[in-house]
């Protein structure tokens, strides 16, 4: 069964590779000829082909895949660490490979009779063998002459070329518009701290107010998030919670919650809470709070799963119940790591607090984006410098504290 899996998966991988190469090639061509800037809204867009044409394209891909699999390890075969060898383990001859190529066209119909040794391998008297240990055979051909090397090269080349067009890398504008960026740099070099303590009459917020707001948003979200994540993390740890069917259910639900909510951007929550509780720092800290629960919960429960099981056994042997075991054998082992994660999370939350301001989260981010939209670069420079200094200090202090407690 193992070889069947390898054959199937490596085949799918090859298929994906060549389909990607073809599709990517089309896209690249279109980006180069039709639409100069990349507009995701536009309908793609493969070339208009008749059904027959499409059938031919699909057939072509299949042929290429089969061909690369017959002649030298294809990329899929190479990744799964197998290659074709002759009956005695020697190198396959040219005619054997052709036979293999033609016979494998029938693979779909005849594979199932003997998964261990499919029909086309028997006909061509070849078999799939694991790659030799490095060094046991003499030097093979240079990698760029092998089938898999060539495919990998094509893959990389196409990806980079496509990425170049898709992300609209434009060195000319980078150099040409450098003068445009000068005003930011000028703003950063002589920043304007006019509103450092005095509130800006328009936004009604001084720099320091914004900074304190951001710091406390991050702090509140971290503390409240930790308070919720801490008990949940034990429910999400396999070695504690997953006992019996109910335990498994609780464990899976908790883990599922962590995984979903961790992946949702906090700005999404911020937008929801901005409507729910109104614009301002409260909405921002609620958004960060929800995200913190899931992110910390996952880190915490992984930590709980990695504890030394010895003390758990010992405390259980004294006749303690589950809660007591958690309190006396698990918690003391994980507290330092939990603290380190929490401090680390505070750092992250402070950075995210600025982004959350985009959808009405409040804090120092609001100042940055408001001044940016008004093109007041000196004020932007002032806020950014203040924020950078704070982040820098926080980074330094939290790194130092984490080093001490772990």
């Amino acid at each position: 069964m193992k070889f069947l899996r390898v054959r199937l998966l490596s085949f799918i991988l090859d298929l994906c590779l060549w389909a990607y190469l073809l599709y990517g090639g089309f896209t690249l061509h279109y980006l180069n000829t039709r639409w100069r800037p990349w507009r995701p809204e536009e309908k793609f867009v493969a070339p208009e082909l008749s059904p027959l044409g499409w059938a031919l394209v699909v057939l072509g891909i299949l042929e290429v895949v089969l061909f690369t699999r017959a002649f030298g390890p294809s990329l899929g075969q190479r990744i799964f660490g197998v290659r074709l060898v002759g009956e005695g383990g020697g190198k396959p001859s040219f005619s054997q490979r052709w036979l293999y190529f033609f016979a494998s066209h029938l693979a779909l119909f005849l594979l199932w009779f003997d998964p261990e040794r499919p029909f086309y391998e028997r006909v061509s008297r070849l078999r799939l063998a694991p790659l030799p240990e490095p060094g046991t055979e003499g030097p093979g051909p240079r990698w760029y002459f092998t089938t898999h090397g060539l495919s990998a090269f094509l893959f990389l080349g196409l990806t980079l070329a496509l990425g170049w067009r898709l992300t609209e890398i434009d060195l000319r504008s980078f150099v040409g518009k450098a003068s445009k960026s000068l005003r930011i740099w000028r703003g950063l070099i002589n920043p304007d701290f006019r509103y450092l303590f005095v509130p800006d009459p328009r936004i009604k917020l001084s720099f320091i107010d914004g900074l304190v707001q951001s710091l406390y948003m991050a702090l509140l979200a971290t503390i409240a998030g930790t308070a919720v994540a801490f008990p949940l993390s034990f429910l999400g740890a396999r070695n504690i919670a997953a006992r019996g069917p109910i335990g498994w259910l609780v464990y899976s639900l908790t883990r599922g919650f962590f995984n979903v909510f961790r992946a949702v951007e906090s700005t999404y929550w911020a937008a929801i809470f901005a409507i729910w509780v109104g614009f301002g720092p409260f909405a921002g800290s609620m958004a960060l709070f929800i995200h913190t629960i899931a992110a910390l919960g996952k880190l915490f429960s992984e930590q709980v799963e990695h504890i030394d099981p010895g003390p758990v056994e010992a405390v259980t042997a004294t006749g303690a119940n589950l809660l007591q075991v958690v309190r006396y054998a698990v918690v003391p082992q994980v507290i330092p790591q939990f603290l380190a994660f929490t401090i680390y999370r505070w750092d992250i939350n402070l950075r995210m607090a600025t982004v959350v301001a985009l959808v009405g989260g409040g804090g120092i981010g609001r100042l940055i984006f408001e001044y940016k939209d008004d093109l007041q670069w000196q004020l932007v420079g002032g806020v950014i410098i203040l924020f950078m200094i704070t982040v820098w200090i926080m980074d330094y202090v939290s790194g130092w504290v984490r080093e001490r407690i772990v």
Partner: protein, 254 residues
């Protein structure tokens, strides 16, 4: 009535279908010092863990003071575990906690969940903890973190933790195999002292010389089955080869 009776105990681990114990039966009198010997993997640890049901036996029955342990509910079993102390090969202390906290953990089963969750223990227990630490000679290390102690000291903390339970039965799972010979004897002497105070001891040991020196009776396990049950003197060269295999040679631990 014997203190502990084990009847036809069998344990098969689900994963890999490994048969750890097969049809093991024996009984232990009150106040006896029983030593289990055998190669590693012969089932000694599993047998000990089956007695306090840290490992659930597949079949067979275990009686302690006439109560069938294998039938008890988890809650009732926790009540029984309070009277069964256990000492481990790797000490199984919470490394970051202080010695005192580790020792107090031995009283968890006797105190209410709520007060222990808040970290509160009765004055009586604190006094008892000091007594137990004094008994193993570690009173001055009470507030030291467990990972600052040497191996022998850690094992003595483990013994103090078991003593806190005021056990009737002490299970010792290779208590000295992580220690050097000199420390081994000092730790074994503490266990022997506990035995002299009337506690039944079942200890698994790796070295036959230690078993001969401390055991009143020896049970040898091989591949999960009892191959010898009797007095230490009865193990001669032939028996020894049977238990440990042809290649083995007896090593003296001084």
């Amino acid at each position: 009535m014997p203190h502990l009776v084990v009847e036809n105990l069998t344990k098969v681990y689900e994963r890999g279908k490994i048969r750890a114990l097969f049809n093991v039966s024996f009984s232990v009198e009150k106040g006896e010092f029983l030593v289990l010997i055998g190669l590693s993997g012969s089932g000694k640890s599993t047998l000990l863990r089956c007695i306090n049901r840290l490992v659930e036996p597949t079949s067979g029955r275990i009686f302690l003071n006439g109560v069938e342990l294998t039938k008890l509910s988890p809650r009732a079993m926790r009540k029984v575990r309070r009277k069964i102390g256990m000492v481990f090969q790797q000490f199984n202390l919470v490394k970051r906690a202080t010695v005192l906290q580790n020792v107090l953990a031995g009283r968890l089963g006797y105190n209410s969940t709520l007060s222990t969750l808040l970290g509160r223990f009765p004055k009586e227990d604190l006094r008892r903890a000091q007594e137990c630490l004094e008994r193993v000679g570690l009173l001055d290390k009470m507030y030291v973190r467990a990972d600052q102690l040497s191996g022998g000291q850690q094992q003595r903390v483990g013994i103090a933790r078991a003593l806190m339970q005021e056990p009737e039965l002490l299970l010792a799972d290779e208590p000295v195999s992580a220690l050097d010979p000199a420390t081994s004897h000092s730790v074994m002497q503490y266990i022997e002292q506990i035995n002299k105070d009337g506690v039944t001891v079942i200890a698994s040991l790796h070295f036959l010389s230690l078993a001969r020196r401390y055991g009143q009776r020896i049970i040898a396990l091989k591949a999960g089955e009892i191959v010898f049950d009797g007095l230490p003197e009865a193990i001669d060269d032939r028996k020894f080869k049977e238990i440990y295999g042809e290649e083995a040679e007896e090593v003296e631990v001084r």
